[in-house]
Amino acid sequence: MMEKASYNKEAIIELINLKKSFGNNHVLNDLNLTVKQGENVVFIGKSGSGKSVLIKCIIGLIKPDSGIISVFGNDVSKLSHDDLDQMRAKVGFLFQSNALYDSMTIRENLEFPLRRHWLKGTKDTINDLVLDALTNVGLADTIDMKPSELSGGMKKRVALARTLILKPEIILYDEPTSGLDPVTGKEISNLIVEIQKKYNTSSIIISHDLSCAKITSNKIVILIDGTCYATGTFEELNNMSDTKVKQFFD
């Protein structure tokens, strides 16, 4: 709707006429979107508006009813299992609940995706990568702890470290600041921006947190009735007179 004219980068994710329903509940309804290289796109919408469904469709956890999801130029719904695994190695996913494996230590949590996607690594190399990823989020000293010993903010950071360990080109964040206090939420938001700058990642961020959206976004998409109702920068949307858009910023 009001996309910045300055964007002139390669499209890395493209959603075309995406539809997904659960019974009579039409969650995604002809949704179209393009995410370009190095771009952070924040999705804002009411609870149950299909934001989490959207990113789960992108990573191939949920199959859309119709439409095209193109990631790195490949249609996700047509990828074979092996191709989907290869694609997933380049896409990080930060779950809303962090999804750290309770039965494993932090080290084992971080080693898990490495051993799955990158089996040739020696023990020392894997150890260095784990330490490096934890150092990036400032939690190197938690390496031998269990997730249950960490606070909510620390778990989020560890989950972020696990997401980053495969050096993904795209990161999908499902409400990265939910359940965190404003200070920790801001730290996580700043970390997302740092990661984008450091690794030149493209991200889709699902959030209810306007301060997170303001800090992290290059572009904000407002999702209403399963479609992209409005698109623009934080300032552009904040200045819009449309009542449906205004309700998110008031």
């Binding site: 609940s97 494996y101 309770d102 996607h117």
Partner: protein, 255 residues
Amino acid sequence: MKSIALKYFIYETAGIYLFAVRFFKELFKPRFEFNEFLKQCYTVGNTSITLVSVTALIMGLVITIQSQPAMETFGTESWLPSVVSISLVRELVPVITALTCAGKIGSSIGAELGSMKVTEQIDSMEVSGTNPFKYLVVTRVLATTLMLPLLIILGDTISLYGAYIGVNINQNVSFHLFTNQVFAKLDFSDVLPSVIKGLFFGFTIGIISCYKGYHTKNGTEGVGKSANSSVVVSIFAVFMIDLIAAQVANIFHIL
């Protein structure tokens, strides 16, 4: 109301059947999760040893003590070791061990997979390039299938020792005489069927518990329900298998 319950029963039975079919399909696909399988064998086997041993010892003791007066009445107390050992090995130990494991292992698997499901850990595994069905379900079902017969053999041995203690409460029978009397009637064809039953019990407990945990819904409330129904359905299935085994035994005169 009855039709809803019937529909639910049919739906769940079909679900468990399809889950079992998927297990066999995934079992032969490459990348076997050997480390996780060993870990599950340890969890299922080693952590159940104490419970199974104590249960078996008490069972051997109690059955012997309760059978002794009746056999004395008929003047057949010299048969006590062989009669009790056959009852224990062929029927009581396999079923009681399976019920004990259904409670301990079934609830544990149901709750663990259930909480992994509601906290998106299973989705996370899939995103990490792991087939969660192979990693979580195949390893656990194989572990329960292989460990239960071993636990049954251990239970058989300990229950016989319990029976020896039971016999010696009122009589003075040497261990040598007791074992001679036991193995005069008890042979390999009594042990093998209980081991075969153990394989089926273990598989059933594993499949049902994994199915319940893997399909958990409605957050933490659902985890509790999954753990509970894993135990209830597993126990019901153990009795059903035992009934079928008894019928098969009648037909073939072997089990």
